[in-house]
Symmetry: C2
Subunit: 147 residues, 2 copies
DNA sequence: TCATTAATGCGACAAGGTTGCATTAATATA
DNA sequence: TATATTAATGCAACCTTGTCGCATTAATGA
């Protein structure tokens, strides 16, 4: 990866956490910063246990969940429930060239067991008088790196 | 509902269970028939506990799950994991005028708390070299009956 | 420096689902 | 019909994921 990219990512990460602390009036704690750091560096949808494994700071399970739910409330992270019934969390990337909103497909690779946000918007025509407020769409298969 | 419809549904249900017993070489048991009867009569995606509540025969939780997974193996039922992380099961309807395959959206109504199969096929264009084998797509909102 | 209270750790808990194992009963065959 | 085979079941134990209450810690503002 080019140096430029790393810088952009790092600036981005700092900005998100900064936004979280100042705009959302959250306290600056090592654990919260570490969780966000993992999510932004991996750029994948990750489960609680996967996140903990990547963290340098130790933290309780309940705390991690509380942090993740806080991130969701503040809309810097979104939650996906995969077909294994587990919750996965991914940063809402806004510093990228293309903004990825919440209405996109997710892809679970059965080989590398990762879940990623696809830049593919979910298109549908719901039947008459159905009001769609959220969606949770996961495609399952083999990703480009595993085939 | 017209008498004709009921007849068609009942014939259909008998045929599915008959198919299950003869073609799939499964034994004819009251519990299996009861589970399938609930699913075909409700025509909704139902969770294990919702199914049990509708059953006249009593059966163990583990047994119900084993039956449902057996139905999935034999492809007379399909499984959806909703955004509450729970598994829901729905008959694969083939006796209807329009066949509903597995590649359709599901809709969870937050008011009546039901999950139904929509006749809306999931359309998407996965990125280059991604192989999609299954999907689990749930739209969440308010259904036509609740608004 | 101190007061406020958000954030954390710990334990307990619940829900959902699976598995092992003994028992029951559906089916095929004699 | 009687018997053997083994699929299906019931029960208990277990695991995983996620949440909650409560005491404690520490970030923040005054
Ligand atoms: Mn996403
Ligand atoms: Mn369906
Ligand atoms: Zn992969
Ligand atoms: Zn409804």
């Amino acid at each position: 990866m080019r140096q430029g990219c790393i810088n952009i990512l790092q600036v981005c990460r700092i900005n998100i956490f900064d936004y979280f602390c100042t705009m959302m009036k959250r306290r600056n704690t090592a654990t919260q910063e570490a969780v966000l750091a993992v999510l932004t560096s991996k750029r994948r949808a990750m489960s609680q246990d996967a996140i903990v494994k990547q963290m340098d700071v130790r933290a309780d399970r309940a705390t991690i969940y509380r942090i993740l739910n806080r991130f969701c409330e503040d809309e810097i992270v979104h939650k996906i429930v995969a077909d294994d019934g587990k919750q996965y969390f991914a940063v809402c990337i806004k510093c990228d060239e293309k903004t990825i909103s919440n209405n996109h497909f997710h892809f679970r690779c059965t080989k590398c067991e990762t879940i990623e946000c696809l830049p593919t918007i979910v298109e549908f025509s719901a039947p008459q008088n159905y009001k769609v407020q959220q969606m949770n769409c996961v495609l399952v298969g083999v990703c480009k790196d595993c085939d």
